[in-house]
């Protein structure tokens, strides 16, 4: 076994222990439609296990590991349906800060993010959504931020990294919660979590809060968003794998017409097709991680390939699992619906399948690929 595989195995085992000891589907149900929508004590446990710092370099108090290790943890973690915002905070927000150029701010915030004391969120999308981090309507001028951000998750963060357009190109500011001029409203999501709709009315910011500007800001945002997009693929893989397991198990035990429904060929072929989609998702994610470990360029392309496949496969497995369950699949008490709803959220987040299909076509024109 390579050192990498060893490392990933250990990380996965740690999540399995976490899954058995610190979380349960009952807990997930309990937290739906609550505020802030996750459990701060569990977040602390997650931080103690080191997962919030997996992708933060050691010099800032993290583990200094890479996408492959993070993917291993997120895939397993996602199987538990825990609502704690691991990818959004530990990848999307933390990495945007890290890829920025404000050393003092990194020293101030990253150790706290790694240790779980600071919960950050990246506020990068405008109200219309879309995956281009430089399509910015929010303005930074005269030492204040003005505009609106949407789909911010976690909505109740300790601070928000807010992207905006300034006279000198894009900028990224750290804005603490409670800052005058910053208000947060909530929108509920299919899985019972909530994302934030942030309004900025001349929210004052100073240079010490400037995480990145100009080209650095653009590159930091793009890279962090792509990394989190790839990781959302790992989460989707976890969700669809578990959903398929549950469904296959149901096909073995549910009896109609004197036989397990899993013996009906119509359902067998359906299950095989779902399995194939899951295997394709696994394959493209694995390939992406191998390639990116050797050559980090091409991140956007790989992120789109992964997110496209995993979003579509996750949605399909979610929907068809309901169908295969029959009436019980349409109930709230049956867990399978929770998996479908999480797949819906992850699939819409950071660009859905169609959006990434488009970006793939733009990044890899068919002629060039041939």
């Amino acid at each position: 076994m390579s050192q990498q595989e060893d490392q990933n195995r250990m990380l996965r085992d740690a999540v399995t222990t976490f899954a058995a000891r610190d979380t349960s589907i009952a807990r997930v149900r309990e937290l739906r439609d609550s505020a802030p929508g996750f459990d701060k004590a569990v977040w602390k446990t997650i931080a103690e296990l080191g997962w919030t710092g997996i992708m933060i370099p050691e010099e800032y108090g993290g583990m200094g590991l890479g996408l492959s290790e993070m993917a291993a943890v997120l895939e397993e973690f996602a199987k538990t349906l825990s609502p704690e915002p691991l990818n959004p905070s530990a990848v999307l927000a933390a990495r945007a800060l890290l890829h920025g150029g404000n050393e003092a701010l990194k020293k101030k915030l990253l150790p706290g993010i790694a240790s779980g004391e600071i919960l950050p969120a990246l506020a990068w999308q405008e109200s219309e959504g879309g995956i281009d981090p430089l399509a910015l309507a929010t303005r930074a001028e005269g030492g204040g931020l003005n505009g609106g951000k949407r789909f911010v998750f976690p909505a109740d963060a300790d601070g928000y990294l807010v992207s905006a357009q300034s006279g000198n190109g894009p900028v990224l500011y750290w804005v603490e919660k409670g800052t005058a001029g910053l208000t947060v409203e909530y929108e509920s999501r299919a899985d019972g979590t909530r994302c934030g709709r942030i309004t900025l009315r001349n929210a004052k910011v100073s240079d010490s809060q400037l995480a990145a500007s100009g080209k650095t800001a653009g590159a930091a945002l793009q890279r962090a968003v792509d990394e989190a997009t790839l990781m959302a693929g790992a989460e989707l893989l976890g969700v669809m794998s578990r959903a398929l397991e549950i469904t296959l198990e149901y096909m073995r035990i549910r009896v109609q017409f004197g036989k397990p429904i899993g013996s009906f060929q119509a359902l067998q072929h359906r299950a095989v097709d779902l399995f194939i989609q899951k295997e394709l998702s696994f394959s493209v994610l694995r390939d992406a991680l191998l390639h990116l470990a050797a050559d980090p360029s091409g991140l956007s392309l790989w992120a789109s390939r992964v997110k496209y496949r995993c979003s579509e496969a996750g949605m399909r497995i979610g929907r068809e699992s309901i169908q295969i369950h029959g009436g019980i699949g349409f109930t709230d008490e049956c867990d399978i619906g929770l998996y479908m709803k999480r797949a819906m959220v992850l699939s819409a987040w950071l660009g859905n399948g169609a959006t990434h299909r488009h970006r793939y076509a733009a990044l890899a024109p068919a002629e060039a690929a041939a």
Binding site: G129, S188, F257, G327, G337, S347, W349, G351, N352
Partner: protein, 384 residues
């Protein structure tokens, strides 16, 4: 009360009359509801239908119905759907009424039809059981004759509107020795009878529309058995025809298309040829579904009975609607997982409720897998 001879009226005139009534009388805020309404929501509207004499369009006039022929009934339903008129918990009107009219004794008709029409009796359908879904004939709830009463034991599940219902029509096993389909009877039960417990079940939308109903030594009068003992299966099956065509109506898909249209415009998707191609595909699917529906509707209008090929309609209608709700989520983009009414530039649209509600349509009324089995066997004449 109007007791006119609707069938003498020209179709178009009838259509306009029905349309006018809905436009004038149906509460605006209940149009095109995104989720199933409960009796409390629709009660007042139902009262209006009763006063007008329109509560049971398909029943014969002698029982207070409108006495519509199949063709007029289809027009009535089309107008109902066109205006977005919600269905009330109407199983008594749509499913039970015709069955009683065909199979019940005069006394039973007198006893049950008038209060059902007036909305005093709200019925639920107790067919499915935990272990008898697709394989309905496997039902185990048992009824044993004791003097002049049947004593019922067992449980029913997925019973829609059980919480609102005053009565239930139920399939029970009355002969355990007979072959599966041959030992089943059709009984009526008062929901207030001791021994009935209702456990409401929350659905994917988070609301309680169906329930599990437990029957523990529930006594119902022997005169409440409809038809002959052990003939329940044949009776229940005899009525499936009209249900299958109404589940195949293109209206849900047409309404879904309108919702999608608002999002397409708001999101600027008309400039995306790849999206527009898939959107157009769906529009054609909906249009052709309407054509297929028209074809089967014409058969009914001519007084012919529908064959097993009507299953096509259920498959196309429910699956087209599902794909439509899926494309709607996709078109909504980042907002595609937001709950409640989501504000888009052109309109506010609830995208999740239709997506969830589209799911069980391929499960109930005979799942789409079962419909395909029927088509393969009875229409394509394949072996096995």
């Amino acid at each position: 009360m109007q007791t006119r001879d609707w069938d003498k009226m020209a179709d178009e005139a009838f259509r306009l009359e029905v349309r006018g009534f809905f436009q004038k009388q149906y509460p605006e805020h209940l149009r095109f509801p995104a989720y199933h309404l409960r009796w409390a929501d629709t009660k007042d509207w139902y009262k209006k239908l009763v006063d007008k004499g329109w509560a049971a369009p398909g029943w014969p006039k002698e029982w207070g119905g409108m006495g519509l022929s199949p063709s007029k009934l289809l027009i009535f339903i089309e107008e109902q759907e066109r205006h977005g008129v919600a269905r009330t918990p109407d199983m008594g009107i749509i499913l039970l009424g015709p069955l009683l009219i065909k199979f019940a004794t005069e006394e039973q008709k007198k006893r049950f039809l008038p209060p059902t029409l007036r909305g005093e009796y709200i019925w639920c359908q107790g067919y499915s059981e935990p272990n008898a879904g697709s394989d309905l004939a496997n039902l185990k709830t048992e009824a044993v004759l004791d003097g002049d009463e049947y004593v019922i034991n067992g449980s029913k599940i997925w019973t829609s509107y059980a919480m609102d219902a005053t009565h239930m029509f139920i399939l029970v096993r009355t002969d355990k020795q007979a072959k599966k389909q041959e030992g089943i009877s059709f009984l009526l039960v008062d929901m207030k009878t001791p021994g009935i417990t209702i456990r409401p079940i929350r659905n994917l939308l988070g609301v309680e529309v169906f329930a599990q109903v437990f029957l523990d030594n529930v006594r119902t009068p022997a005169q409440w058995l409809v038809g002959k003992p052990n003939q329940g299966w044949t009776m229940a099956k005899a009525l499936l025809g009209f249900e299958r065509i109404s589940i195949g109506s293109p209206k849900l898909a047409q309404t879904g298309l309108k919702r999608l249209e608002a999002i397409v415009q708001s999101q600027g998707l008309t400039r995306d040829p790849a999206f527009m191609d898939r959107y157009t595909q769906l529009r054609l699917d909906v249009a052709d579904l309407a054509s297929a529906y028209g074809r089967f509707a014409d058969l009914l209008k001519r007084g012919e009975t529908l064959g097993p090929d009507v299953s096509i309609l259920k498959i196309v209608a429910t699956e087209t609607f599902q794909r439509l709700t899926e494309l709607t989520l996709e078109a909504a983009g980042d907002a595609g997982a937001l709950g409640g009414k989501v504000a888009f530039r052109k309109d506010s649209v609830d995208i999740l409720s239709p997506f969830y509600n589209a799911r069980p349509a391929t499960i109930y009324g005979g799942s789409n897998e079962i419909q395909r089995n029927i088509l393969a066997k009875n229409v394509l004449d394949l072996p096995g």
